[in-house]
């Protein structure tokens, strides 16, 4: 059966249809989940897509973490369900404390919409399961606050525990240690700034994102459904 993916929609989110479309093209059964929902239906994985949840007011993700759905997302993650935050979704997950660190304004203080090369660093997370370490992927970024930062102890921990999932080949935004994506200790929650859904159709110029989305669908299929 096709994996069921919930795509969380906050007011101000804008990549929700893109995520549904890209996952749908790959055979998933993806549907939108409104931020006001306090409980989740049955999903094999959750995606928090890009955009500007609640206008990114105060700072990206700072208000979204209080949306009713986030408690359900935290429970789902705690039970081992795969959760992927893309771009703004990554920012929301850090604000919600489901991932360490924070995303600050880009070095150079400008918005960046461009395609970058990222290197897969781990083959054992919800988003990179079975992807060869060292694989380089060409994937668009689209953010103003994509500059990953954390304190020295957290960075050491992330390195020691192998929780840096993706690194930029040529750091575009000043992220510490070239970090483009990280995961939690359970490896089921992953956040990344690049947009794999934007690299999922040859007509649009790159299919490299499919490598990551396919890994997510594998994880979703393999993970015992969480209710």
């Amino acid at each position: 059966m096709a994996p069921r993916i919930g795509v969380v929609l906050f007011p101000g989110t804008n990549c929700e249809h893109d995520a549904v479309q890209a996952l749908g093209r790959m055979g998933a059964d993806a549907e939108l989940v409104w931020h006001g929902a306090s409980s989740l239906g049955h999903y094999d994985a959750l995606v928090l897509p890009g955009g500007f949840a609640h206008g990114d007011y105060l700072r990206p993700g700072a208000i979204a973490r209080f949306s009713p759905v986030m408690e359900a997302v935290a429970d789902y993650a705690a039970a081992g369900g795969p959760v992927v935050g893309i771009c703004n979704g990554f920012q929301v997950l850090t604000e919600a404390g489901l991932l360490p660190g924070a995303l600050q304004k880009n070095r150079g203080l400008r918005f960046l919409c461009t395609t970058v090369a990222v290197r897969v660093e781990r083959a054992d997370t919800a988003l990179t399961d079975g992807v060869a370490v060292g694989t380089e992927l060409s994937i668009p970024i689209n953010h103003f606050e994509g500059n990953y930062t954390c304190d020295a102890a957290t960075l050491a921990q992330l390195r020691d525990e192998g929780r840096v999932v993706l690194r930029y080949v040529d750091n575009p935004n000043g992220s510490v240690d070239d970090i483009a994506g990280v995961c939690n200790a359970g490896r089921n929650v992953v956040g990344l700034m690049p947009h794999p859904e934007r690299a999922s159709d040859p007509l649009l110029g790159s299919e490299d994102g499919i490598v990551l989305l396919a890994a997510l669908l594998r994880t979703a299929g393999a993970t015992a459904p969480v209710t």
Binding site: K105, G108, R110, R198
Partner: protein, 771 residues
């Protein structure tokens, strides 16, 4: 009833100036108001007429000329006069498009001016029932090495980025033009395209007396009061800091998050068929939305000004009615549907307040717009709705061909000395616009097949809720003010022609255009002549190329210190790709490919007697500061054949067949020399070209020419010969040098660095503008 008030007795400002003049109405216009009302207007009524009869809202100087534009076509569903033009794209899908200017607000407060320009045009599109899927921004500034211009560029780009990215509509292209004439009066135009299932098309009209007018979105504040009359319909003294600062409160402030929720709420309301009409609030705010919807529907409207949610206390009635606070829409709904409308708006956290009621028009007379303090309260103003939206005076302003026109035509740059190193001049004309567009989200919605920077942008024809389609859309904006300054008729015609060719280079059939006519002060007869000539040139080209003009915007009073900008008609071109299953080749080369010039220009050498004209070329204007001469001629019929040929050629590859075109670029700004260099730096492959006689041939911008790179030149040449299209083999692509005879000899890496570095070198070290 005849509304009267205490203030009626002495309608003068504190300084003793007659109020109507302070509001921007002439004495004659005030007399017309008196004739329409058959009595003296009160302050509120005078304010309503002042904003609605402003140049910006009423087109009173340009309307008599705009009538000459062709507007019809079998595929045109909605032409000019509505919020946006709409064409039938087939497959049950319609495409809405509009272009606007936000010049004066951006001159004063570049971030918010540009941001609210984006917000305003999005509302025009979703008012039609369409989801906005693309924005383009043609921008015009003065010398980018000057700090003031850098501040403007930085702010405008940040404003478009900050608003457009957040509101969730990709910005897929535009133009960036620098010329000293824009130093005090930059131009910020914005085009938006939306798509909708054809049956969802709605028009901005009120109907059904008893129906309710519901104001959706933001509360109403003092921002933007008099924007259309104070800012948009008068020129600048120029550079006076105090004067500009004083106008700053007339610039609106944008909230993209409010707009995003408003878009989603309105599209859901339309999908649920809960509105009978809908209209955005833009220039002239509530008075414009209520009077236009009522006039279009042939009804009247009662507006309860006390029911309008306000942002600040102490606002008086005319401020509420004319405020240009952003992110507001007016929906006409039946009383039965009101609860569902309120429920849906609550979900999206969008405010919904009943502020008006549709009323029956008196028998044999137009519907009245009545402003009330409470629906059962006193009448504060009472005017015929149609008088505001339709009855503005139309001016046949005097026209005069500039006295120096003939002298300027005779002063040809062909006589300028040849450059000692043409390669140096090619380098000086290269500029990669990436610095601008990488600040824009140009990929949202997974539709962007060809993004910014090419001849035209290409999108899949797709959006949530649309029927499936294999078609694609191509979009371009074009302008040529240096040409229009020399000859507005020929310049405008060439601009339309270039737009059509840019669409063709992506394999699209050009279907329609919109225009944004940026001109100087219409009270200058030379400016009115420019406007009239440009409209005629545009009309000729559109007729010849079969392109209807389905919408437009006129921005006048672009002047400072009494000096007008160059006439700057901007064309937005919309094309349709029948079958989009492969990426168009784009501006690129393949190693070993043959370079072919397809040429439908009018005799490049004039029988060998004279070299092609350099008049209006970037080489002459930007590098030699020579702004005069006689433009290269254009043969519109031949141009049309070239457009058809190129469209057909590229469309084959785009449809997934084995196409003959491996790379393509039209020859425009900078001429053949720049076109070849751009192909080289964008592909990372050099060129070896011969047969270019001199700098005239290298830099002329004679229209109707395209460079094609192909690995099957024999097939291409025989196809061109069969179609009667002129052609010439220029050379080959390959290596790491750009070589044109003994004129140009450039290292590819040097050229690439110059191209890439131009804007970052100027702008990267600036303190960024954030909001």
């Amino acid at each position: 009833m005849d509304p009267t008030g205490d203030e009626q007795a002495d309608l003068v400002t504190e300084t003793g100036e007659p109020l109507h003049r302070a509001l921007g109405l002439t004495d004659g216009e005030r007399d017309e108001v008196v004739a329409i009302l058959e009595r003296e207007p009160n302050h509120l009524e005078l304010a309503l007429f002042a904003v609605m009869w402003s140049e910006h809202c009423s087109y009173k100087s340009s309307r008599v000329h705009l009538k000459r534009l062709p507007t019809e076509g079998a595929h045109v569903l909605v032409g000019p006069g509505e919020n946006a033009g709409v064409i039938d794209a087939g497959d049950g899908i319609a495409v809405a498009i509009r272009i606007e200017s936000h010049n004066h607000p951006s001159a004063i407060e570049p971030y918010q001016g540009a941001a609210t320009g984006v917000g305003g045009i999005l509302r025009d599109i979703f008012t039609m029932g369409a989801r906005p899927i693309a924005v383009m921004d043609p921008l015009f500034f003065g010398d980018p090495t000057e700090p003031k211009q850098q501040w403007l560029i930085e702010g405008v780009v940040a404003g478009i980025s900050g608003y457009g990215n957040s509101v969730g509509v990709p910005t897929i292209g535009g133009e960036l033009t620098f010329d000293p004439c824009y130093a005090q009066n930059p131009l910020v135009n914005v085009l938006c395209m939306g798509v909708l299932p054809t049956e969802r098309l709605v028009l901005g009209q009120a109907s059904g007396p008893g129906n309710l007018a519901v104001l959706l979105g933001s509360s109403t504040g003092r921002d933007g009061i008099g924007g259309v009359s104070v800012l948009a319909s008068a020129g600048f003294g120029g550079g006076d800091e105090a004067e500009e600062a004083a106008k700053r409160p007339s610039v609106q402030v944008g909230d993209p998050y409010e707009e995003k929720r408003l878009i989603e709420a309105c599209l859901e309301l339309l999908d649920a068929k809960l509105v009978v009409g809908i209209q955005d609030l833009g220039g002239a705010g509530l008075v414009c939305a209520t009077s236009e919807t009522a006039a279009r529907g042939g009804v009247g409207m009662d507006v309860d000004v006390s029911a309008v949610p306000r942002r600040e206390p102490g606002m008086v009635d005319y401020e509420v009615m004319t405020s240009e606070s952003q992110e507001r829409m007016l929906a006409i709904v039946t009383p039965q549907d009101l609860p569902r409308v309120q429920e849906l708006c609550a979900k999206w956290e969008v405010r919904a307040a009943v502020v008006g009621k549709v009323t029956e028009a008196p028998v044999g007379a137009p519907g009245r717009l009545r402003i009330l303090d409470g629906f059962d309260g006193p009448v504060l103003g009472d005017v015929p709705a149609v008088a505001l939206s339709e009855d503005a005076p139309l001016y046949h302003r005097p026209l005069a061909r500039p006295a120096d026109q003939d002298a300027r035509s005779a002063d040809d740059p062909g006589a300028l000395p040849a450059p000692s190193d043409c390669g140096h001049d090619v380098l000086a004309l290269l500029a990669d616009p990436t610095w601008v567009y990488r600040q824009y989200d140009h990929q949202l919605f997974l539709n962007t097949v060809e993004g910014p920077g090419g001849d035209s942008a290409v999108l899949r024809l797709a959006a949530p809720g649309l029927p499936a389609s294999e078609r694609g859309l191509a979009l371009t904006t074009d302008s040529n003010p240096t040409w229009c300054a020399l000859d507005p008729r020929a310049g405008a015609a060439a601009t339309v022609a270039e737009a059509a060719l840019n669409l063709a280079c992506s394999g699209a059939v050009p279907k329609a255009v919109v225009n944004c006519l940026n001109f100087g002060n219409p009270e200058h007869p030379e400016v009115m002549w420019q406007l009239s000539e440009a409209i005629d040139g545009m009309s000729e080209a559109c007729l010849a190329l079969g392109l209807p003009v389905i919408g437009g915007n006129v921005s006048l009073y672009n002047e400072s210190y009494g000096k007008d900008i160059d006439p700057t008609p901007v064309i937005g071109g919309l094309g349709l790709i029948d079958r989009l299953t492969a990426r168009p080749p784009g501006v690129t080369l393949v190693d070993g490919g043959t370079l072919v010039l397809l040429d439908a220009s009018v005799g490049t050498r004039d029988g060998g007697r004279r070299p092609p004209s350099l008049a209006g070329s970037r080489w002459a204007v930007q590098l030699k500061r020579h702004r005069n001469g006689t433009l290269p001629p254009i043969d519109l019929a031949g141009h049309g054949r070239l457009v058809d040929f190129v469209t057909g050629l590229v469309a084959e590859g785009v449809a997934g067949d084995d196409g003959l075109v491996d790379g393509i670029h039209d020859v425009s700004g900078g001429g053949l020399g720049v076109a070849l260099a751009e192909l080289a730096v964008r592909s990372g492959i050099g060129v070896q070209v011969s047969g270019v006689a001199d700098h005239h041939e290298l830099f002329t911008e004679a229209p109707s020419r395209v460079v094609v790179c192909t690995t099957r030149s024999h097939d291409l040449l025989s196809r061109a010969a069969d179609a009667g299209i002129g052609f010439r083999v220029l050379g080959t692509a390959g290596g790491d040098r750009i070589v044109v005879d003994d004129l140009v000899e450039l290292d590819l890496a040097t050229a690439t660095a110059a191209w890439r570095g131009r804007l970052p070198d100027l702008l990267d070290d600036l303190a960024p503008v954030t909001n």
